[in-house]
Amino acid sequence: MFCGLFMHESNEGAEISPASLTALGDRGVKLSLDIYSPTIEELQAQRTYWEVRSTLEPIAELLTQHNEASPGLGGVRFDDEETLWAYLVSDELWGGAGSVADQALIRTPEARKQREQLLIRLGREQMSVGRANVRTEMWVAAFDKWQTEGLPK
């Protein structure tokens, strides 16, 4: 019995039941295992997922702490890449008036600065893999400028 195992991450496991092993043994069938590591593309996608997830989670915590929770963000399941990416490219996060990028934490300077640093990191990661909102680049450039020069008067 030839079995091929395709890994997605660096540490994955599998089990074979005693019943299966007995069934093979009783029949004199040898079990062969070929194990394939993730591809470069899969490893890159995995790194990107963890990077965006670990940046968006503190943004969500920050918004909640300051009672400015983003409705769409509340519905994001961080362990589900599909809903996570749907939110990451949304206008609710990166859009114009009313978006998280536009006005969240605007009345709390320290939290606003922290939010901007996280959004810069998040935006750069999204742009590096070509999965950003049309306004992400504009917001990242603005936040970069405000971090060094302060908010426009």
Binding site: M1, F2, C3, E12, S20, A23, D26, R27
Partner: protein, 93 residues
């Protein structure tokens, strides 16, 4: 530790004097693919030919994502004769 992402499983019986029809009769199932030693195959794309160096009888299970070897082994064995002596006679050749 995460569960393995995907698994494939194939029962593969090979031998120089293997007769695929004989294995099919013994096990009561037609294979996914088979060949006899000396069979010549021509690649449709490249046009190159290759000669089988041994006889092979293969039965594949459907891929599982995430991995599920138990289900794949069960899928394959459930299609085949349960008579242990038949299996042993094949394994001992």
């Amino acid at each position: 530790m995460a569960h393995l992402h995907r698994s494939v499983a194939t029962l593969r019986i090979a031998g120089d004097d293997l007769d695929p029809n004989e294995i099919s009769n013994f096990l009561g199932c037609t294979p996914t693919a088979s060949q006899r030693k000396g069979d010549v195959f021509t690649n449709q794309t490249s046009g190159r030919s290759r000669t089988a160096r041994s006889g092979v009888w293969r039965l594949e299970a459907s891929d599982r994502e995430p991995e599920n070897f138990d289900a794949q082994i069960e899928e394959i064995l459930s299609k085949l004769s349960p008579a242990i002596d038949v299996w042993r006679s094949i394994a001992e050749r």
